[in-house]
């Protein structure tokens, strides 16, 4: 009995360690459309894995499939963390193909884009319930953070007890209001950055190592 328990213990310790080594944490990059999620995911991937994740665009719903960059190892002074970065489609409660017609798209392309977008958002919600171990929530700091989608998503993330960091992106723009983002979610840590310009990335990586290591 005692021997068996000991054996079980040591086996589970070994598997724990194997598990910890072979299964990096999956960090989902979430947020509303156009916040800069893919720009951030690409910057992380270029900085630490020499590669990109997917295309960026000023047209909303550019990302319509969750995309994963595996085994991204981030080294900070004191620690090394290995994560899988999951870039997700921007979440919304509505999609109207007519809005894409303004972006020089014909009806067929717009309808296709909207159908892919709805599938992508559904998939992103599914990932959030089943497949991520931590969340980076990206907001465009020039926009009002006080939206229903943001409130609902942060509520869903909290209800799953996932570690979460709020990124106030696009600080290079004059209208960026970091304080407004911080005030909207006072229960979480807000990190300002410009994913496009690469501003404040040291703090970004420090926080990722601290929260998801």
């Amino acid at each position: 009995m005692g021997l068996l328990t000991n054996l079980k213990d040591s086996i589970s310790k070994v598997t724990d360690r194997l598990f910890a080594d072979s299964e990096p944490k999956r960090i989902g990059i979430y947020g509303p459309p156009n916040a800069g999620k893919t720009t951030l995911a690409n910057r992380i991937a270029i900085d630490w894995a020499g590669d990109t994740v997917g295309p960026e665009s000023h047209i909303p719903h550019e990302t319509r499939r969750a995309r994963r960059k595996e085994n991204v190892t981030i080294e900070r002074n004191s620690q090394t963390v290995t994560i899988d970065v999951v870039d997700t489609p921007g979440v919304t409660t509505k999609v109207d193909y007519k809005e894409f017609l303004d972006h020089d798209m014909d009806k067929e392309d717009a309808v296709r884009r909207s159908r892919e977008a709805t599938e992508g958002v559904a998939e992103a919600m599914h990932w959030l319930r089943e497949d991520v171990d931590g969340v980076i929530y990206v907001l465009d700091a020039t926009q009002d953070p006080f939206t229903q989608v943001n409130t609902m998503l942060i509520g869903i993330i909290e209800s799953r007890d996932l570690p979460v960091l709020i990124f106030a992106n696009k600080t290079d723009l004059e209208d960026a209001n970091i304080q407004q983002v911080a005030n909207a979610f006072p229960q979480h840590e807000t990190v300002p950055l410009s994913a496009l310009e690469g501003n404040n990335m040291d703090e970004v990586y420090d926080k990722i190592a601290e929260y998801f290591g």
Partner: protein
């Protein structure tokens, strides 16, 4: 002599207005999560505005978004507009409470068709929305 107004007997909102359903917490309590989502989506797709006394749990909100996305189609349903007051005391319920379903989700929630409802103003204490006919 004034003409008689056409009446609408099938329960669907007619041309003359927008139907608003206020659903009590007691009524929602008796439903499974998917039944709640079905009830909301069927109403909203019919052009109704639904007001929930107690709102949905985060899990249910997540499924509501997912099912909504699967039902959006061109020239038909474009999705929904949803508004609640921001929760004033986030993350105060313990994990045990949540597992036991004791999480407090009581928050007035307004849901309507995205192409008919527009939020004009929202803060901690007031939601102001403009509802239009189809």
């Amino acid at each position: 002599m004034p003409e008689a107004k056409p009446t609408n007997n099938d329960g669907a909102p007619g041309d003359e207005g927008v139907q608003i359903d206020l659903i009590s917490g007691a009524r929602m309590d008796g439903l499974a999560s998917m039944e709640k989502i079905r009830l909301i989506l069927d109403s909203v797709r019919d052009g109704k505005i639904v007001i929930l006394e107690d709102g949905l749990s985060p899990e249910e909100e997540s499924r509501l978004i997912e099912v909504t996305m699967s039902e959006i189609n061109p020239d038909g349903f474009t999705g929904l507009e949803i508004e609640t007051y921001p929760s004033t005391k986030p993350a105060t319920t313990s994990l045990l409470d949540r597992i036991m379903g004791r999480e407090s989700t009581k928050k007035l929630t307004v849901i309507g068709p995205a192409n008919q409802i527009e939020t004009l103003h929202k803060d901690e204490t007031l939601i102001s929305a403009l509802v239009s006919r189809k």
